[in-house]
């Protein structure tokens, strides 16, 4: 380890000594008290709030008042000389001015610059004590004495690795603003409301909730009805509604034993494979999962799907969360370490690594490291150092937000404005990733992974690629023939040589670029060449490769379309890292070594005493050390972070309001003791999520009704339902709506895992041209058969530059930013989608066909449709009204013809060439539609079915379907 890099100003603040001032403070004389107040407060107020106009610039002093010296203050300004009468605050006009008592003299003049009450009080006290104006050395003495006190009325000091200035380093914090950095408390579980015949709360969650509720004078809501509970639990754990049959079975079991029925239900749901599919979606929201890289080219991340399936497996297998963390941040380091042990030398290691000679367990680790490849990134038009910085900044922020609920971006350019996070710590974490390079790596498929549909998929991509290959070849032949002819006409022999040699030939000795091609053809050539790359990348989807990283020097050139481990990786390379002031590469400041967030006061295990938060600067193992520190039992941010998220996904609202930012500017936890208790309990019991689900769902708080007898008062006192006097309802998420419709129609294909599937999306959007660098991205083609299309939404192809309009309309988050909480606003485009779109119309027809199949009479069919969508039987009023509707619709459809839908097998594209501004057109093939198996459409069914489908559509549009209680 290079000790010369260690130039940290470590603070050794003794946190056990003195809390509210030391003993000799009481013995200060009045003059000394005045000096102290001036040194600590008043001097600063003058310089922050007044001197800009009154003294900082000696040539431009406003109102002839100079506040940079006592003499200046005593002399007063142009109009008054009674600003300061030492010992007599009431007569000192200064106090009137800063209190805005005299409308003609209100200082500072801007409302948002006004002094606070406590600042005014400090000035008052200073005058009372005689208004002394100590010299700089004396002031410094008071400042330093003050810094010995950990806690003063201004707040508490937090020991960190140190800011860029002493002012920042010795900044004081309010306890409530640094709650997240404090060690987990071990709160006593409240004893609960005893007496009045109420039992003590069995579940500690209820005890914490009840204690606060009782404080506000509310009773908790009663337990919800069992049919409400099964729907709530099903959506929460598996993201799908219970079937009518499951509801009935549950109701029967409930009659025998409510608690037994409930426990069995939760066990069944947690064991179902759909649990992982539902909860992985939450994780992917935070991790920003997508199958493409976004930005200029939106390049395919061909094997990202393996990471998606890893996350699903991790949830289903109940992988301990600490392991889950380590694998995602350092999986490649672990896999390589294990491989290195098998290899005789570095050469053998490098060879095995390139050929992907990993065990299944090691592959799993490599796939997990795909987390480090989730952010949008494209180095097009960006020089390597900046492209590198964009990547590392993104990863550092992603790791901070995801695992530590800390927005790292906030202290990239300067010490954190609010939190005890020095910019040094940002760059220490940055240094932990400074040797992390992106690469698609070789890694064989595991037995736990699905390679279904590889053959068909590959064949289609190959076909599309061949089409582009042929077109390129034709155009290249044409230009090469024209070039030959150009040379022949001038009697110049055909040049030969390396690329560099060819470039040296004078311009007049070689044929013009793209000679022989029309403008139209030049444009086409560019499009086809780009297509070749696109399909090349997509073919890699079917190769034993993984989107991962490795440790090594930054390659000279970075190109987002192909990132590989180079043949020779300098294993001894050691990146130099600096604090970049203002985040600028061109302004490197102090050197830093890798390290972690010092404000947590969780030291790295086995770290040297002079650098407890340092990781050691070997190139390999930096991330592992960081990951182990994050996953350390003592790390207060980590456990709070995940427990808070899990709580949020059960209750629709987190305990601490900003799951990606626990800093002082974020929302404070509504139940800090409960959060700490849950976090501590979670860690003690092995970081197991399924146990946490059971704990939460077995609470009365989770099982309570969404209705409350005292609703009006709750709305007044606790409008945000922070106290959880009742269960908060929620709208279904985009994926839940789609998956539920498919389950209800019977179309849902529950096959797990594998390469992304392409559901049908709005045809106008699917065929919509989309600009990428130099070209247009190819059209979106849905999977060929309904079985492939009708998989759960988590398996859908996720393109950063082309959101599925259905999912996007229902607030599927933008994959460019980590989503801590989804928007649920009801907007009109949602109505258009559910009422008018092809995809929902198709679902309504599918449901109508299912219902016709399962029941004969119209009334029975209506009943069945309601059962399937609402998991209950219709009321008499509903049945009557819906029957009338279906009959009216039968009349309508009997009179209204329908046209058949055609699918195009190719489209013509027209583009303005980016460089030349000339329009050109070209043909794109859509082979999927050549033998496409469409869903049943309106034209394929009878008027009777269409009428029934109208009813089904209404059910899918209803609030009862869309909301969970």
């Amino acid at each position: 380890m290079n000790l010369s890099h260690k130039i940290f100003a470590w603070l050794f603040i003794c946190l056990f000594l003195g809390s509210n001032g030391s003993a000799d403070e009481t013995t200060l004389t009045n003059n000394e008290k005045g000096e102290q107040i001036f040194s600590l407060h008043v001097g600063q107020i003058f310089s922050d709030k007044c001197n800009a106009c009154h003294g900082a610039d000696q040539d431009e002093i406003q109102g002839e008042l100079n506040l940079t010296s006592l003499a200046g203050l005593m002399a007063g300004g142009a109009t008054r000389d009674d600003l300061l009468l030492p010992g007599n605050p009431e007569k000192s006009f200064l106090l009137d001015v800063v209190s805005w008592k005299d409308p003609d003299y209100e200082m500072p003049p801007k409302a948002n610059d006004r002094l606070t009450e406590s600042q005014i009080q400090k000035i008052r006290e200073w005058i009372e004590y005689g208004a002394p104006w100590p010299d700089a050395a004396t002031r410094q003495k008071y400042v330093e004495a003050e810094r010995q006190k950990v806690r003063t009325e201004a707040g508490v000091l937090v020991a960190t690795s140190g800011g860029l200035s002493d002012d920042w380093t010795y900044r004081r914090y309010k306890d409530e603003d640094i709650w997240a950095f404090q060690p987990l408390a071990t709160p006593t579980v409240p004893s609960g409301p005893e007496g009045q015949g109420k039992p003590k709360n069995a579940n500690p969650i209820d005890a914490f909730i009840a204690a606060k509720l009782a404080g506000a004078g509310f009773d908790p809501a009663p337990r919800a009805d069992p049919n409400v509970l099964i729907r709530r639990a099903s959506y929460d754990l598996v993201g799908l509604p219970p079937t009518h049959r499951e509801v009935n079975e549950f109701l029967l079991a409930w009659k025998k034993s409510p608690s037994g029925a409930w426990t069995d239900l939760i066990d069944r749901l947690l064991e179902s494979r759909q649990y992982g599919e539902r909860w992985a979606q939450h994780w992917l929201d935070v991790a920003r999962y997508a199958d493409t890289a976004g930005l200029s080219n939106d390049y395919e991340r061909s094997n990202a799907w393996r990471y998606r399936d890893y996350v699903i497996r991790a949830f289903n297998d109940d992988k301990p969360y600490d392991e889950f963390i380590i694998e995602q941040i350092a999986g490649d380091e672990l896999a390589d370490e294990q491989m290195r042990e098998r290899c005789t030398d570095e050469k053998a290691f490098a060879d095995s690594r390139r050929s992907g000679d990993y065990t299944e367990a090691e592959v799993e680790l490599l796939v997990a490291s795909g987390f480090l490849r989730m952010g949008p990134w494209d180095p097009a038009m960006v020089k390597t150092p900046e492209a590198r910085q964009l990547y590392v900044d993104d990863v550092v922020n992603a790791v901070g937000q995801t695992f530590l609920s800390t927005t790292m971006r906030c202290f990239k350019c300067h010490d954190h404005k609010f939190d005890p996070l020095p910019t040094r710590d940002y760059y220490r974490m940055y240094a932990a990733f400074a040797g992390t390079q992106m690469a698609e790596r070789s890694a064989p498929f595991m037995s736990s992974e699905s390679t279904d549909r590889f053959e068909d998929g590959e064949e289609l991509v190959q076909r599309l690629k061949s089409f582009a290959d042929e077109k390129v070849e034709w155009l290249e032949n044409k230009t090469s023939e024209a070039a030959d002819q150009w040379l022949a006409e001038r009697g110049i022999p055909k040049p030969a040589g390396t690329k560099a040699e060819l470039a040296d030939i004078p311009d007049d000795q070689k044929p013009p670029r793209h000679i022989g091609l029309s403008e139209e053809e030049k444009g086409r050539l560019k499009v086809r060449q780009q297509d070749q790359w696109i399909w090349e990348r997509r073919l890699e989807r079917y190769r034993p490769m993984v989107q991962s990283v490795y440790n090594g020097p930054t390659p000279k050139k970075l190109n987002g379309r192909k990132l590989r481990i180079p043949e020779h990786v300098d294993a001894d390379w050691n990146p130099e890292c600096h604090i970049l002031s203002g985040g600028s590469l061109e302004a490197p400041g102090q050197a830093v070594t890798p390290g972690v967030l010092s404000a947590t006061r969780v030291a790295i295990k086995e770290a040297p005493a002079d650098d407890p938060y340092g990781i050691g600067d070997d190139l390999h193992g930096r991330r592992l050390a960081l990951a182990e520190w994050i996953a350390d039992d003592r790390n207060p941010l980590t456990a709070r972070s995940i427990v808070n998220r899990v709580w949020q996904y059960h209750f629709g609202k987190p305990l601490a309001g900003n799951p990606n930012n626990f800093g002082g500017s974020g929302k404070k936890p509504t139940h800090p003791e409960l959060l700490d208790w849950l976090a501590g309990n979670f860690v003690e019991n092995g970081w197991k999520l399924k146990r946490l689900h059971r704990l939460i769902m077995s609470s009365a708080t989770y099982q309570q009704s969404g209705k409350h007898s005292d609703i009006d008062r709750i709305e007044r006192v606790d409008a945000d339902n922070d106290l959880l006097a009742m269960f908060p309802n929620r709208r279904l998420t985009a994926e839940e709506i789609r998956d539920s419709m498919l389950q209800i129609t019977g179309e849902l294909n529950l096959t797990a895992g594998g390469v992304p599937v392409m559901p049908e999306m709005n045809m106008e959007v699917a065929l919509q041209p989309r600009m990428i660098q130099f070209s247009l991205s190819p059209a979106y083609q849905p999977s060929r058969t309904p079985e492939e299309r009708n998989r759960r939404s988590i398996y859908s192809y996720r393109v950063r530059g082309l959101a599925d309009p259905f999912l996007e309309t229902f607030n599927q988050p933008n994959a460019n930013d980590s989503c801590e909480e989804r928007d649920v606003a009801s907007v009109s485009p949602q109505a258009f989608t559910l009422l008018n779109s092809d995809v929902v119309t198709d679902r309504s027809i599918a449901l109508a066909l299912r219902v016709e199949n399962e029941a004969d009479a119209v009334v029975a069919r209506i009943r069945r449709a309601v059962e399937l969508v609402f998991a209950r039987t219709p009321t008499d009023a509903e049945e009557k009204k819906l029957l009338k509707y279906v009959q009216d619709m039968e009349d309508y459809h009997a009179k209204t013809p329908v046209k058949k839908k055609d699918y195009p097998t190719s489209i013509s594209r027209s583009v303005v060439e980016e460089f030349s501004g000339q329009p050109f057109s070209y043909e794109e093939i859509l082979p999927v539609y050549e033998n496409y198996v469409p869903d049943k459409k309106s034209a394929d069914v009878s008027a009777e079915t269409r009428a029934l489908a109208d009813l089904c559509l209404a059910l899918f549009n209803s609030n009862e379907f869309i909301y969970v209680y």
Binding site: G294, L295, S296, P376, M381, P385, E386, A503, D504, D507, P512, R513, L585, E586, N660, N661, G663, S665, E715, R716, D720, E764, Q768, R770, M771, I772, Q773, G801, A803, N814, N816, D817, D823, V824, A825, S826, V827, S828, Q830, A831, F832, T833, N836, S837, T841, K881, L882, D888, V898, K899, S910, V912, E913, F915, G917, R946, A954, L955, N959, Y963
Partner: protein, 476 residues
Amino acid sequence: MPTMKICSRPISTASSRREFLYGLGASLGSIAMSSAFAKDINQPLANPLAAKKPMHAAKAKNVILLFMEGGPGHMDTFDPKPKLNELHKTESKNDRGLAAGQYQFYVGSPFKFRKVGKSGIEMCDQWQYMADPEIADELCNYRGCQAESLNHPEALFHMNTGSRLGADPSLGAWATYGLGSLNDNLPGYVVMTELALPQGGSKNWSNGFLPAFHQGTRLRSVGSPILDLKSQPNKSREHQRMALDTIGFLNDQHAARHPKHAELAARMESYELAYRMQMEVPGVVDLQGEPEYIREMYGMNQKETRDFGTQCLMARRLVEKGVRFVQIFSGGWDSHDYLERGHASRIKSVDQPMAALIRDLKQRGMLDDTLVIWTGEFGRTPDNNKRGGVYSIGRGHNIDAMTMVMAGGGVKKGAVVGATDELGAKAVDCVHPIRDFHVTLLHLLGLDDNKLTYFHAGRYKQLSQFGGEVISELIG
């Protein structure tokens, strides 16, 4: 078109309607975040897009942003650089800094420049309609803006959302968040693109972290103007009404079992708005009613100007109807090569329509409070590289200098503000980052960037990210 309410049933039996998703400014931001419960259940449900008073006296009520995707060359449009023509094809000494690297030779503009109008504002000879004194003397050319990202999508995101990351609310979203819309039956923020979406796609008109009401609604030039606006082809408007009534019936039954649940009513209301939009939107996008001389003026009868002209005319109609913010994307400005042909054809495609838009707004008395802005995501370099050994007569991306042209909405008339150096490499006078342009735009709309904030992910966020200053030189 009068906004008839064809509502055959009362909107909802759940009378507890209130605003619960919308809050203006910092103090209400947290309410907006917590959509589950509101402060007062008995307040009537406010339309989240209802028109609001500006924070200070506004100069502009509406904005029409003409976005030239790809980055027009300032020295080939509105910012003449005779020195460049002297240096044409000589070795470039222009240092572009660490991130961008070096270009090989200077490129003079293929176009001649002249002063036009009484104001003597400069533009190249490709601008013919814009050069009409009546139009030229309305213009304010700003030459001091600087961008930050060399890449199209990041630069587009930055100009459109104030952030390079592509996840923040766009200008139009902030404008409707601050001011609401003036028409209950139309979206407050409308976007029109070419057939191909610009790089970065819909994230350029995203609501970001603002509630979804503020998302730009894309009016599509081909097919359905709004996605799924029309019923399925076999379903009539009467059919739609009956469907809505049936859904309403189901929702009323449901609401009776779940009283005090305001989202239910709000969601039903969003269906009724959708129904009204189905009526209103086709009328706005149907240009058949526009007289022939207007269509002619906008260039709708010529191939080169038809698309942009149609969109400009649509923009005027939308603003007339009370749409707050209209944005039109027009691509193809990325002339790395074939500069003369490329820029000439791009200028031709926007020259007549843009001039017509300004003239039309003026003759209707709408220009005073409608701000028209013409800009790209960055400017272009004075120099370029050889490609395959051959001089490419084009330009690279330049983040240090660009040009914007504005009209109406309270900006100076016939004015040139700021300057670039003699080669157009860098802005040197009245230099401001994009955020200051954004703050100025809000200021003209009567909004204060420091007060127009929204609580998200632990802090109050604003368009400028961390504050900026008003470019007072632009304001008339």
